[in-house]
Symmetry: C2
Subunit: 535 residues, 2 copies
Amino acid sequence: MFLDCGMKPECLERTHACTGRTCKLHAERPRPGIEPRTFLLQDLLPSKNGEETTLQFLLEVVEILTSYVRKTFDRSTKVLDFHHPHQLLEGMEGFNLELSDQPESLEQILVDCRDTLKYGVRTGHPRFFNQLSTGLDIVGLAGEWLTSTANTNMFTYEIAPVFVLMEQLTLKKMREIIGWPNGEGDGIFSPGGAISNMYSVMIARYKSFPEVKTKGMAAAPRLVLFTSEHSHYSIKKASAALGFGTENLILLKTDERGRVIPADLEAKVIEVKQKGYVPMFVNATAGTTVYGAFDPINEIADICEKYNIWLHVDGAWGGGLLMSRKHRHKLNGVERANSVTWNPHKMMGVPLQCSAILVRERGLLQGCNSMCAGYLFQPDKQYDVTYDTGDKAIQCGRHVDIFKFWLMWKAKGTVGFEQHIDKCLDLSAYLYDKIKNREGFEMVFKSEPQHTNVCFWYIPPSLRGMPDGKEKRERLHKVAPKIKAMMMESGTTMVGYQPQGDKVNFFRMVISNPAATRSDIDFLVEEIERLGHEL
Amino acid sequence: MFLDCGMKPECLERTHACTGRTCKLHAERPRPGIEPRTFLLQDLLPSKNGEETTLQFLLEVVEILTSYVRKTFDRSTKVLDFHHPHQLLEGMEGFNLELSDQPESLEQILVDCRDTLKYGVRTGHPRFFNQLSTGLDIVGLAGEWLTSTANTNMFTYEIAPVFVLMEQLTLKKMREIIGWPNGEGDGIFSPGGAISNMYSVMIARYKSFPEVKTKGMAAAPRLVLFTSEHSHYSIKKASAALGFGTENLILLKTDERGRVIPADLEAKVIEVKQKGYVPMFVNATAGTTVYGAFDPINEIADICEKYNIWLHVDGAWGGGLLMSRKHRHKLNGVERANSVTWNPHKMMGVPLQCSAILVRERGLLQGCNSMCAGYLFQPDKQYDVTYDTGDKAIQCGRHVDIFKFWLMWKAKGTVGFEQHIDKCLDLSAYLYDKIKNREGFEMVFKSEPQHTNVCFWYIPPSLRGMPDGKEKRERLHKVAPKIKAMMMESGTTMVGYQPQGDKVNFFRMVISNPAATRSDIDFLVEEIERLGHEL
């Protein structure tokens, strides 16, 4: 590393960062008399004369990263190079995960970087469909690189002036899109949808029983929360963590395609009230994790208004559809919610993490969470300290999650997000149409997908003639895991599977990846057939 | 942008990334006949033929970032270019924070990146002392760039195999350093010390009253938590959020230099028990936020053992001293804690965020938080699913905070962290010695600092002759904010201030910045004198 090969112009043409190690010409014609030197961390800034070494080191890292990015979008690259935990722990050809007392050379650090990527998963690959967050947006990536370089903290305007304002403006824009008058209200970016949902429960409790903040749950009657049996498990996590108890979270029945049945909610609210408990919080999901179902928000809002219950909309996954004139009707009624979770890192393709909790009533976040730490939120600063947002948060330090999102919004415009979302939904309709009547495929529910989730079983030929029953179910339950394991081992594509209720393991295809095209959908279907045919 | 200036070799020599815009030669001798083209997001990958544009765009971003890094370490650069919120919101010369429907060109995106850094705060500047997290580690930065490029999620081995193993090995190493036998136990990286502390309270509750998870706080007697009056406000936030109520958090008295008085703890535990409540949790702080005090862990542990109370050590700030053979005795007894918070993003200089919660007993994190989401934690995967750690967390998606830390550990070795910590503590001793008897300076407490916190008042000449009393106190209270405001407006340095208890506003100097030297300490002292002399 860092050996000047003496033929900069030529190798620069190729790599944009001249170093002896990456220059082929150099390898062929080593410059006589120059020995490579080992560089260490202490050769980097802030050490004296560390500037050039720092620049070269960072450029070498960037060379590794850009080469990774380029290959990620190349369909001939594998999605992953699978190894079992024990294989990686034992060490792969010079890649040793163990930490030691003595420093490694910067040369070895670069090798470690390359190996870390080599044995990882390319979540930006056009054929990676495994999670709700997929894809690699180049502007978002640039935004995240800048964020790391700025290396600051969201708690005060003092040390994050630009980012704090970007957050404020972006949250306002999101509230306008939700439909709250003039974008009024409040909100904060949090480390993921689970924490955003936890905020909603905390704020709802504070709104009804503010004394819980000081006196604890003992100051409130027995409080009950409601959410769909298809909703995300974070609502359950919140009910456990915040002291409600999971038994006080009541699961609501859903229709065949996973949407809450409002009548079931009302019946359960009445039942709870008859027991003398207090129905406090309803979560309506806009885009469930597995089926992609949108609960009927307006009908749920009617019930919440009637019984004076906080309505939260978990749009972690489906919130992005608000950006699309064609699809936003699926969230009709969202403007009646008291709070909304919306994760731009899912359907909007923003790099991880980027999740917002939005609250209709101003002041609740602050009232619920503020503890007025004197060392951080001094009232006698020279600027308008209402911009110090940290005391609203349950975190103290808070990562800058806004910049990449703001930068992407600048680069795409609102219309760019809309195009991306419409394209993903078109692709999922294409997949649905392709497999709904295809031999060997069976849909988990019959109606068209509301979101990009397409849930299906692949039935291998050996099971196709079998009568329905326990044996077929048991065998079918094993099909998706087997195909998935083969997919991962061959590294060709990745898609999720799971059981749901009484339904045995099925594939859940989701599309949020901007790199995916119809040909990738075709590939996935054919790959499932190829791998599953003999099962 | 992206205009080939036709003189690549020359300008590459200068910038390592040839673009028309940054090449001075080009500006002087524009190549005739070539017009700059406006590039947009859709020219980048994954679009067809987007490879070259993507590479050039990213290299231009890197050019902005490396130039920022270089200037950050240059003492002639300002720490910040202060503007009030309304100024930035009104828009600064072409820097418009508002989001719009239509996309901006990539050229404008680069300008936005440059401006975002321009109006921000250089937290890596050698004279930035404002927070517990300061400095910019180049290897850590490279690690964070890689993390963003990998853009994955910690919840499963499936999509983060390497990172999950790195986390496991690093947590084990940290537990060994704490002194738990064979590094046994458990832990997780969380988004900041406040959440790590919240975990500790949750786990403590689960250990004593596991039924709270399902039945809520009503299933437990009245539970009481204890922490120092000097401890971090996150303990109070946790007691509010988790349903204990802040009134059930009892603040412990401290000695003159901010350490808990163990006898006060025991007296209060007895009092609580006499009332029939249950003392459940004691937080001992290793390195308080303002004074940098270390509570006497062994004496507190004796009391916790005697009364069967969970002992948590909040080492968010002071945990790093465990890496130093010279200073780790300040945490003597930490191995007796049931849980420990330790933020490598503070004293160890890891980029934000990187915080660990470590737990002595295995299984509690899982027991407390697991909800067994079928769509994520399938039991029938082909690999050993005990590596899927997501169900331990209160988050669902979890950012990869481990890689930058792991990579820094590789590059520095354990000894490198030790050197860094010893150097910071030496610098704070230097500051203490310099000002303890200096005219115009008065220490907030007399004894030598235990950590790098040095707390002092600057007394301007106009106040020096005044008798102690209300008027002097009121005037002195305004001195630190005024000096701080002038510092920020001149952009020369940044240091925090706050009141504490009955003590009026004083400066809290903290040193975690690896770029700081004695000359920067000298500068700070002289700058305070220069700015405060006329007050």
